[in-house]
């Protein structure tokens, strides 16, 4: 191989490495592939649906149980029935008592440790046959309604990211972190 052909071959290899993203970051001995496209958090406002107990990820908006009743009747009643009594084992979303003598009925009200989970879950997964069709305000309203059905908030209490995350759920201290890692 002549000198010039060899140089051209190396040039091609280098070009290939560059376009495949194989680059050696400064100070690193080994070449590492880095193909993630940098993005900003504000590009994710409609994508990142995680609404956490510390309020992070909770969108603006608010609602009361009184407003939520009609949202519920239109979007939830067909599967969760009147007062959240449910139509099957896994659709009961109100009532129950963790201290009952018999097998305790575990629902949002009796079992769930965090109120944020209710907003997070309804926004991402409910209604089960048409998920992600409610506006953020409607999710706050129906969240308030499910909490009201469980006797946790009043009918006219405004539920927003602050008031929701401030709620102490009845079974809030009922859980033990079993991961043995923390």
């Amino acid at each position: 191989m002549s000198m010039s052909r060899r140089t051209a071959a190396w040039g091609r290899i280098l070009a290939l490495l560059l376009c495949a993203g194989w680059l050696a970051p400064a100070g690193s001995q080994e070449a590492r592939i880095q193909l993630g496209t940098p993005i900003d958090e504000d590009q994710l406002s409609g994508f990142d649906l995680i609404a956490a107990p510390d309020g992070s990820g909770m969108p603006p908006g608010a609602g009361t149980a009184r407003q939520g009743r009609s949202v519920y009747e239109l979007n939830c009643l067909r599967c969760h029935a009147v007062n959240g009594e449910g139509v099957s084992g896994n659709t009961v979303i109100a009532g129950g008592d963790m201290r009952s003598e018999e097998l305790p009925l575990r629902t949002v009200g009796s079992y769930w440790p965090h109120a944020s989970t209710l907003f997070d879950f309804i926004r991402r997964a409910m209604p089960a046959d048409a998920p992600k069709t409610l506006s953020d305000d409607e999710v706050y309203q129906v969240t308030a309604y499910v909490l009201f059905l469980n006797g946790i908030v009043g009918e006219d209490e405004s539920i927003n990211s602050e008031t929701l995350t401030a709620i102490a759920m009845p079974n809030g201290d009922g859980f033990v972190d079993h991961s043995h890692l923390h």
């Binding site: 079992y111 965090h114 989970t117 879950f121 991402r124 089960a128 992600k132």
Partner: protein, 423 residues
């Protein structure tokens, strides 16, 4: 033929595993296996028909032999109240070895199987990182990959057996939320390094692109250890029911945390407290406190043949076989009992057991024609021993049904019929 002296290894007919090397064992395998020989020892063997004519051409996509039995997953009936929700179970009693064929790998979905075009699929890493990143499927395929053979078990597997009742079923219907495959993908740590994780990040919230946007929180220790962003299963692109185009795979941990159709990984200080790590997949104890984040699946084993709803045709020698696994490491030993746990004999492992993978055991057994209770008991490399059902019930009660790893008892009646029994 000379009379063999079978050496007994434990009560009610369990034989020394050395005898596996000798002739005369009957396995109860997939339906339809005909006994060309053995049935009629005096037969004169002929060259069969299929050796006298050319066979079929090579095919583009292989099928099982039409004589090999109709191996099917067992899927629940669709429920309009729970669209796409439910599971399908692996036919454990008809499989051998340790790898589950992809078409028979168990499934559990919370809102159905999405039909994802990878060209429109994105995996985002955000939250407590120096640089949030988005990865296309095409680019994920360009990273160096690793392969691991690991079991996957739903933490609800075998759950019905804790509450008792008439659990008359097969290995598939009672324990079929268990499979094992070779998973290939990019170590999660590689992608997290690229985004540069902030020191205060303790959890990675993983979210799927299904209609439920199913989410689970993974502790950072595990995420940086052996978790894969998996792209291939047993050599082919992961199938839609397993999370095509990309799933999380957390070796040894309850199945639900290996989030399918993976689309987001968010680095957080605390767990996201998703519905499927609070309302579900948590275990309420007799004192009404509830265990959250029970991740590794406990050491467990199961006799797959003979097993529930099979029939032993006649007294004689059978090959007892099954699978063992542990989320805490590799299987070290499996013992088998034919008298409901009174005496035990060590089974032979068919291959060197792998870390957090299914292991196959086998032991010969001479069925006298009388009643028997077959059990298996596994021990793992971390020193855990599989508990009996009463131990699990005493420790955990019956409010919850997840994470049941108790010993399975198969009763054999004097007609040879086999069913689940509680001892």
């Amino acid at each position: 033929m000379k009379e063999l002296q079978w050496e007994k290894a434990a009560g009610n007919g369990l034989l020394n595993r050395r005898h596996l090397l000798q002739l005369g064992l009957t396995g109860l395998g997939a339906a339809g296996a005909s006994a060309a020989f053995g049935q009629d020892a005096g037969a004169i063997l002929q060259i069969p028909e299929w050796s006298r004519m050319p066979g079929a051409n090579a095919s583009a996509y292989g099928e099982r032999s039409r004589y090999a039995g109709d191996l099917q997953r067992m899927a629940g009936t669709p429920d309009p109240i729970y669209p796409g929700g439910g599971s399908s179970r692996t036919p454990l009693q008809f499989l051998q070895g340790t790898i589950t064929p992809n078409a028979l790998h168990f499934e559990r979905h919370h809102a159905g199987i999405p039909d994802i075009d990878p060209a429109g699929h994105t995996l985002v890493i955000n939250g407590l990182v120096r640089q949030p990143l988005a990865f296309s499927y095409e680019n994920l395929l360009k990273y160096p990959m690793v392969s691991r053979i690991n079991f996957l078990e739903c933490s609800g597997n075998s759950g019905a057996l804790l509450r008792g009742g008439n659990a008359d079923g097969t290995a598939q219907s009672l324990h079929g939320l268990l499979s094992c495959a070779e998973w290939t993908g990019v170590p999660l740590s590689t992608l997290l390094d690229e985004a540069s994780v902030s020191p205060e990040a303790r959890w990675v919230a993983a979210v799927g692109a299904d209609a439920a946007s199913m989410g689970r929180s993974v502790p950072i220790e595990k995420a940086l250890d052996d978790v894969l962003v998996a792209l291939y299963q047993n050599g082919e692109p992961i199938r839609p029911g397993q999370g095509y185009p990309v799933r999380l795979f957390c070796p040894g941990w309850e199945g639900n945390i290996s989030v399918k159709w993976l689309t987001q990984l968010k680095l957080m200080r605390e767990p996201a407290q998703f519905r499927d790590e609070t309302s579900k997949y948590t275990d309420t104890m007799p004192d009404r406190s509830s265990l959250q984040f029970t991740f590794p699946m406990g050491v467990k084993s199961l006799i797959t043949s003979p097993s529930g709803r099979m029939n032993l045709p006649r007294p004689g020698i059978y090959q007892v076989t099954g699978v063992a696994w542990s989320g805490h490491g590799a299987i070290r030993r499996v013992e088998v009992s034919a008298d409901g746990g009174a005496t035990w004999a060590e089974a032979e492992m068919q291959a060197e057991p792998g870390d957090k993978a299914l292991a196959r055991f086998t032991i010969p057994w001479e069925w006298s024609g009388g009643p028997a209770v077959l059990q298996s008991r596994a021990a793992d490399s971390a020193g855990n021993v599989q508990p009996v059902r009463d131990e699990v019930l005493a420790a955990r009660g019956t409010i919850s049904f997840y994470h049941n790893n108790c010993i399975q008892s198969w009763g054999v009646d004097d007609g040879g019929a086999i069913s689940n029994v509680y001892v």
